[in-house]
Amino acid sequence: MNILFFTGKGGVGKSTLAAATAWQLSQKSRVLIVSLDPAHNLGDIFGVSLKKKTSFSKRLALEEIDLKKRTKAYLKREIGVLNETYKYLQVLNLDNYFSVLQYSPGIEEYALLSGIEEVIESDNEYDYVIFDTPPTGLTLRFLALPRVTITWIERLIQIRRTILEKCHTIHRICGPMSDQETLLNFEEEDDRVLQRLIALGRKYRNLDAVLQGNACRIVTVFNPDQLSLREAERLILALKDLNLPLRLLVDNKITDANLPTAERVENQLRKITDASLTRVRLSDGLSGGRSSKLYEIQEDMTSWFPTGAS
């Protein structure tokens, strides 16, 4: 399975290009395109309503990740664990108290990441999975999340293991009859916190390996203008920091008038990355909205992502 992320500043045309790429690739391969943008417009582009995963054609499926629904499902699951743990307190209506958690920093990124993870894990029936991402800020935060989380988890596991070692020492000195209240289980298998941390660590390492692997390709879309250039530069440097594979730069909305600017912007970007670069001309057909033909984009996008590459 090939995984493509279309990234870039808001309005540069990444959704359109992701959709056009999905359509063109679906002529020969099985493709799933997933919108991660909280302000979805994948359904608008294809002119269909996307309440759930929908087959647009025989080989093309569309999906919009519902962040609110995903956040609620996640919180519900956690509240379920809380209820289970504190059953003796007969805690009622916890969800009212915890519902505010959905506005906590980081929860949206988590919902996005869990959406990506679910799609990658469950959808083996596609040759290509294309993610249309939200604007740069949020995209970088959720792409950085596995790395950041792994770092924290490793540190927490280390502390937890030190605690267990010391508990083992206490156990050996005081014997099994000790009833000291502060004593923890000293076996790793008995420590639920450590087991949870190890399971989470495994999950994020797997996801990180997929994101950094050969099957994953990040495409950055930009326009021939200064604002778009600056954001593309920041994005490219941040991807480098995160060790994520930027494979293609797409200079979109090229016209005869902005060609000199396009060349200048491209030269600037070539200084900081050796990823391939391609141009897509501004398509007049797109300005007509839903009734226009998205598929009139002339460039052959399938050549960017050869079938069977992994």
């Binding site: 996640y74 988590y110 999340l145 927490l156 502390i159 605690i163 010391k166 014997g175």
Partner: protein
């Protein structure tokens, strides 16, 4: 005549003395464990007191399993106004 009760008493006394000695030896490690668990809880839930914290969802994932850590965190917060006495107690200084 020394009956079984006297022998039992002596046995228990020796066992209790042994246990006391062992507890004394382990006391510092017990305090260290409590402190480490306090640090663990602080690291995970530090956002509540303004410390940099891990991604929120990590704290939410582990929160249901951390009853004991939260008790220690709470106790340490209550004792923090008299840290000198706490240290003296821990090191056995009268």
């Amino acid at each position: 005549m020394a009956g079984p009760s006297t022998l039992d008493f002596l046995r228990r006394m020796i066992a209790d003395m042994g246990a006391t000695q062992r507890n004394k030896v382990a006391a510092l490690t017990v305090a260290e464990v409590a402190e480490l668990r306090n640090i663990f809880a602080l690291l995970l839930l530090g956002a509540f007191v303004g410390l940099p914290s891990p991604p929120t969802f990590l704290a939410v994932e582990l929160l249901p399993l951390m009853e004991k850590e939260l008790q220690i965190l709470n106790r340490r917060a209550q004792d923090s106004c008299d840290m000198l006495a706490e240290m003296c107690g821990m090191l056995g200084i009268d």
